[in-house]
Symmetry: D2
Subunit: 349 residues, 4 copies
């Protein structure tokens, strides 16, 4: 029986409580949050768990084996470090930490303490993403040409993070899980149209990640969209895939479409031909991804296996976030191609 | 009666022939193409027009008032210059020329000769885009926050242009027609996953155009997509708009949605609130855009009016293309943020 | 404080428990089900409610003011009668009873006992349906021409009811809530392609309800569809409406489209013209419908108001079910138009 | 070389002219229409064809081998009879005639004269329908359970036909082409909400066709819909298919979904289980259906083959139309299940 404590009952906390409550061989012992009203609002989810406003009670408790950290990002590192130092396994919300140095320190500490360190990159545990990984690993897409990701909504503005740190962890965890390719270079640009009282976090960001080989990944992150979109296109030399998280009936679409290069053709004539074949939407396991993740955490504690989304997976995401953030800052200082004299005006009729 | 000649009967030529054939006060006199088989294939479109393999016959003909140039981009400048020098009005395919210097020369020449110079930025003449312009001009969107454009298909690869010069003219003409804002800076990146025999044109490009004020425009151009998408999102402080060219029933969607900043709130509490209102899809005139464009050309010849998509409009598009192309080249030489030591590997289960 | 007991913890029971648990001025006292395992599975939803396998405990309990009946249809009448006779208010699942005679008896009894009798026609309490009612009542649709309803899924087969009694109560309650028109005649046909061991309930049914005036309502009910559809079209002389329950972003669409009759035209020429205007998707309240229903029940108990979906509303639905069922049976005996000699064969190529 | 004449240049005529103009081994000799303005408007489609206002010229012409009849339905029989008697092959618009007796007479005459009689059931020649037929013939759907067809638009009202005779020929030709099953019984109901000056054709109709075995076909035909829908669902015991004519990218969807009966189960427990598998959208030939049909006609003339949509196919469609029309009339006289005393009123809040 793995005894679990949860720290943080904000937006995601209730989902963690609900799911850890149904994992076999696991008992949710206690939940901590600074705000008593939040504790009150989750009590009905599990009548047997203790509630406390003192996170330290859980960190230091002898009756707890593993701590789930669902607090603001800035507190992740200190809390996780304390937990590991107190011999607890750690399940931590994404992104794992605010710097890659911190992530490395946690990875090192978990190894030393022989404890499980797992990051809640939830989507990795969804049926759709597991199916996507299977498809890519099978090689049926051929050489990967590009990865294009769009995550738009009318977003949850937060005073302490920008859209990059809020949304990109999802997509960077998907990229690094799905493709087995080095990231060579990261370029990002952000914009902050909504501002007031000194607050001017980016609410729109575009990130480009050049991958080894010829592949390229691109991410559009947007808190200001009238419609919700969560769509990833992966183009290969043989087939192409669309993963649309919100198209619940057909989350994964495999297109037997592509470009066929006719090597023997005169290069000044027709260069390429399209290949248009069937579309297949494979059946996808609809189990709630967080349930699979919670079970995986408990399983890793019991077996000593390394989690799929371990500290290294968390580190990779933070490295990409850091690189994108640096590029976004740098770009705002030293622009690229100026058009000083071109007034782009509309042609008034 | 305006007497028109068409040079070039490739992909777009038949559409021009079909539409100019039905413009009132206009007679399609002759069509030229180097390839006799192309001439044969368009002859049924208008039984009264002459056909010839000699473009010069049209350029120099006394019986022709206006020439429509629908040849490869590289030939645009010389042909248009010759036409203007021979006192012909010119209707020219997009992009107007391969350099902004050439575009400026044509503009100057047209002014000197008192001839109409019009670029075929077809979409500008569609009911949907005219409606969009109306909405934006009315101010109902509030301050424009962003412009995000996606144009994807399984594309017509061409040996002499990349995806930027093929697709972006559409989107750059829309941007400069719709928004009355200076372009401050252009950043672009491209990738060329499909290559052979030395051919390695970019088939995917992302272009970022920083506009004056806080607005930003972004373009995703892609010849390698399994699905066709032509969608522009315009986010404003009061309302947001989606223009989806392929959603024939609802090409323009106006969302009464947005972010409401509560100035009086403690800035460390809830910063913003969403506003979710109705969605309106206004009725849009479905007349074929090219038909409207052809009539506009003849109208401008008859009245001396300046065309909506005149040489200046063509120049603005070429300036953006040049800037994007330069940024794409520069970027490929001097990368931004390298991640030399981060091997982004998938976490093998 | 209204003290509530719930009888029946099958498919819908947990939703009732969850929602009654959050209604203000209401306390969920006890839950009954014959199967202890079902009681166990709902206990976490409300840690303060009693559970029992004896429904009678609730019916006869002095500490309970109102009983929620969520048991199989065949038990509705006896349970509701016992509850009313014991001075309880009754909230009962749809359809209220298996016969209109029973429904009338319950209505009479509730009046005698001065108790609230409310049927759980849940959809009536959704934001979308309340908006639809508002639109229809405003008269903006003009004269109602037709009502076409489609409810398809890969359905929950039940051994004791057919698709008509399972799905049509939803649609008949919508029809009778939305339109203020007498039903003149009901014609129905069903088919039972799935059969075994003597079971041969209809899994597909088509029902036609002729309404007073020229309006007509039609219902397609289907347990054997590969896709889920819940769509109602309402056509009026001025505007038309689509209510698509599953299109969460745009549940209600108002089309400013129609037919315009030109009375003054020669009747042998063009008879009609289309009118194509804007499409409006009004904002719809997204509160869970069942929550609104549960609150309405408690409100009616406290104020003595008649519920929107009272016994009469339940009776109207049962009358339509009975008529449709009778027509479906009759039809299977005495067919209409036979084609004895026409072998409809495909033309083999 | 087959020499063809076309009689009738209304709505469909130009499509016939355009397509017959490109069939190899075929020459479009002449076109007839009573209205000179119609002839003028099609002349540009083929500069070599003669035009005349006298249909008889074509019927009696020695230089014409085959006549295409695209006139109002009421004229089909007389024209086709005259053509066959004059030794012409006949290609005739749907429905072939207004009565089955007429259709039989034409079939007989064509046999006597050894001429081809083909009905323009265009959809049969589309890639999607040929693919559907292939799927059904392969047996992969299992036993056919139902066929549900919906054809809605804001329709072309006509003064001489109702919605049944206008739209159902499409669907009845599909049904009889796709399924090899006898039609046992036809029941139909129509409504005529739009009326004026004595005109009161049905603009909405529902038709039910009971097929041999347990299968049932149902058709919803509607001229008063704000949206255009052309969708056929075919449910089988093993798989299910959706044919959506307007979903150009995925016209045919094959769902590996169904009901699995567990014979060995206690029939009072769970009766059935769902099977949810992949969705496959096979590639579909996008050649214009009418082009395929026109070529097939010429091919049959040249080879003596029987057309896929021969007179018998036309007769089957007319038989179903007649039965549906009779049922619609009868139904309006002798209603089925009356609800004289049930005032279906909305429950006013």
């Amino acid at each position: 029986m793995v005894k679990v404590g949860v720290i943080g009952c904000g937006y995601w906390g209730p989902n963690l409580i609900r799911n850890f409550s149904k994992v076999p061989d696991c008992r949710l012992e206690a939940v901590a949050d600074q705000k008593p009203e939040r504790l009150a609002s989750v009590r009905h989810l599990n009548s047997e768990m203790r509630t406390t406003t003192e996170a330290n009670e859980l960190v230091e408790s002898d009756s707890i084996d593993a701590v789930v950290i669902a607090t603001p990002i800035s507190t992740h590192f200190d809390l996780a470090k304390a937990c590991l130092n107190n011999g607890k396994h750690v399940f931590i919300e994404k992104p794992i930490t605010t710097t890659s140095a911190q992530a490395r320190e946690l990875i090192h500490l978990a190894q030393q303490q022989h404890k499980v360190l797992m990051v809640d990159h939830t989507f990795i545990y969804s049926g759709a993403v597991r199916k996507l990984r299977q498809i890519i690993d099978s090689g049926e897409l051929g050489e990967i040409y590009y990865y294009d990701s769009v995550r738009l909504n009318l977003g949850l503005f937060q005073h302490d993070v920008n859209v990059l740190w809020d949304l990109a962890p999802h997509d960077f965890s998907l990229l690094t899980f799905l493709l087995d390719k080095k990231a060579i270079r990261v370029t990002a640009s952000g914009s902050s149209p909504v501002r007031w009282n000194g607050w001017k976090q980016e609410s729109i960001a575009y990130v480009n990640v050049e991958l080894e080989g010829r592949a390229n990944a691109h991410f559009h992150l947007n808190w200001l969209s009238p419609v919700k979109l969560r769509r990833t296109l992966i183009g290969g030399s043989r087939k192409m895939v669309i993963y649309d998280h919100l198209d619940t009936e057909n989350q994964v679409k495999i297109f037997d479409k592509g470009i066929e290069v006719r090597e023997d053709l005169d290069r000044y004539k027709v260069l390429v031909q399209y290949r248009m074949g069937d579309l297949l939407c494979p059946k996808v396991d609809q189990t709630e991804a967080l349930e699979v993740a919670c079970k995986h955490f408990v399983h890793c504690i019991q077996t000593g296996e390394q989690p799929i989304t371990d500290g290294q997976a968390g580190l990779r995401v933070v490295q990409l976030l850091e690189a994108a953030e640096r590029s976004m800052r740098k770009e705002q200082r030293s622009p690229d191609i100026w058009i000083p004299d071109n007034k782009v005006v509309s042609a008034r009729v």
